[in-house]
Amino acid sequence: MSDHEFTPKSKFGKWFNDRLPLLTLRNHLTEYPTPKNLNYWWTFGAILTFCLIAQIITGIILAMHYVATSGLAFESVEHIMRDVNYGWLIRYFHANGSSMFFLAVYIHIFRSLYYGSHKSPRELIWVIGMIIYFLMMMTAFMGYVLPWGQMSFWAATVITNLFSAVPFIGDSITNWLWGGFAVDSPTLTRFYALHYLFPFLILGLVILHIWALHIPGNNNPIGIDLKHPSKDKVPFHPYIVIKDLYALLIFLIIFAFFVFYSPNLLGHPDNYIEANPMVTPNHIVPEWYLLPFYAILRSIPDKLFGVIAMFGSIFVLVILPWLDTSKVRSAIFRPLYKQFYWFLVADVLILGYVGAMPAEGLYLLVARVATAYYFLHFLVILPVLGAKERTLDVPLSLTEPVLEGSPNESTLKEKKEN
């Protein structure tokens, strides 16, 4: 993928580029050969980049008006909503933007799972992506604490209390996190500082994520390696740029419906009650995008093992490239995997649903079954499928029909030619 042939047109351009090759970078990003058969599930990378930038901009603006002490936090948010010019718009944008960000990231992740984008040679892209996802969850968790409503306070209490499950040093860790003996103003101020910081860590990781992607190039719906150069690829600008823009606009329409017509639909009414350490809400629930993990956490009766299971569910995703051993990437050619994929989707949705319900009776039973199935999918089903599945024949190129030979042979053949 070497394009050192690029030379800037102007003298100043040459001078500058020799010292800091930004123009070469721009040229690379513009010409970057992208498979032309990408479908709309591939537009969510660009959508996510937009979400990140938008959250950062609206977040910094909110930070100009928000006050991060327990006595004034709730009031400062009301000040933003009522007095700051367009404050209500920026706040609703940022709050709903968080939900849209996670909606996009889940579609993006599930796209990868379906088309095998996590497989060799893209394992690091996947791992970096998982780190980004983890940081996103931490950022969102801390951000939700900032308005200092009942849910803010009690979600913070429940989740930080989890660390007391660590043997011997659990209580010390929790007091260290709190900066006190319970969630209070010191907890709030440090969450604010970190909530401001993490998105910039995410931004750096996103750059690494895209850089790592540009080495092998994009995957595509049929999951085959495309030669380089290839007539099956198009320059990123303008072809992919405009497609991403179109998808982004559709995304923004949905976003706009939330912001302008149902800005509180995805939130919880209890968060409009000021935090009260003496009164616990009837049902403490996190925002919808954290519900599956909440369900896994509550499904294990033991506190420590619940925490381990919850972090384990993320860890199991991180090591996915080494669990999913199939040589065939795209689920289009993996009929059995395709079925299990949809089971996984259903499983995650079920986990999310029971995560919002009280952890008792039938809900608890379903949560336990769904949790067990989740781990079964990654730790047992995927490796077994990789060894045993009879995959369909994979085409050799986007336009050539499948020639004879087993799928493994044709993919091996591809690799040899490269």
């Binding site: 209500w88 405009i242 329409i253 302008f260 017509y261 639909l265 995805l266 919880h268 009414p269 409009y272």
Partner: protein, 260 residues
């Protein structure tokens, strides 16, 4: 097309998801009167907000504060839209603690437009003590702080009835059909003609309940009308530019499609 359907399917599930993540135990299906501010083109009814303000002041403010409202909000567009002069007069009827003065003492003065609404109690503890240990919640965002919103508050106001046989409640506790747990420490606040409306509207219980809830809905969302207006323009704009970009995209891709 197939992918579009899939996307819509996911999206609908996502919406239902969102709804269910705030699952509440609904004791009874709530009363659902028609509200002028509901729906895409919802607006507040000025006269209703003014009546609602009157009900709040004469009935509710004895116990409930609205500490995030300022008196100037009463004359701002999108609300009851009293004139600035009327709002000033309203404000001046309340006493605000100010200071310290140059002697180091706190003093009281009449409220101005820039002041926040004055509450009946000095602080939350005083309010709780004066109401049998139950704090009458501040109502600035109450409509957003309850599952069911305006419908819920209206239902509670209209939901007082005799407890069913077999249920006895302590003194100072009342039976309410729509309150979770069915017991509430607020006595029925509204009775017919409790208020004499300045505009002559008949002050039935239902009317007062509707008016005060509309007022509270405005108090919780003073920018609702601007939000609807800007939202309409934003979404129309997005639709138009999406169509333009779609055709640009088709035009652009047709260049290479033909070469294959």
């Amino acid at each position: 097309m197939k992918n579009l359907f899939k996307f819509i399917l996911f999206f609908t599930m996502f919406l239902i998801y969102g709804f269910n993540s705030i699952a509440a135990e609904k004791s009874h299906k709530l009363l659902e009167p028609s509200w002028s501010f509901k729906g895409f083109f919802g607006k507040f009814d000025r006269a209703q907000l003014q009546r609602g303000y009157q009900v709040y002041t004469e009935v509710c403010s004895a116990c409930h504060s609205v500490k995030y409202l300022s008196y100037r909000n009463l004359s701002q567009p999108g609300g009851p839209e009293f004139s600035e002069q009327q709002a000033k007069i309203i404000a001046s009827q309340f006493e605000v603690i100010d200071g310290p003065n140059s002697d180091g003492e706190m003093f009281t003065r009449p409220a101005r437009l820039s002041d926040k609404f004055v509450g009946s109690y000095a602080n939350e503890q005083a309010a709780t003590a004066a109401n049998g240990g139950a704090y009458p919640p501040d109502m600035s965002v109450l409509v957003k702080a309850r599952q069911g919103g305006a419908d819920y508050i209206y239902s509670v106001l209209m939901g007082y009835e005799d407890p069913p046989s077999g249920i006895t409640l302590d003194d100072g506790v009342y039976y309410n059909k729509y309150m979770p747990g069915n017991s509430i420490k607020m006595a029925k606040p509204l009775s017919a003609e409790a208020v004499e409306y300045a505009d002559g509207t008949d002050a039935s219980e239902k009317q007062m309940a509707k008016d005060v809830v509309a007022f509270l809905a405005w108090a919780a969302e003073p920018h609702l009308e601007a939000r609807h207006k800007i939202g309409f323009r934003a979404i129309i704009y997005l639709f138009i530019i999406t169509v333009l970009v779609y055709f640009s995209m088709k035009k652009l891709w047709s260049r290479i499609e033909s070469k294959v």
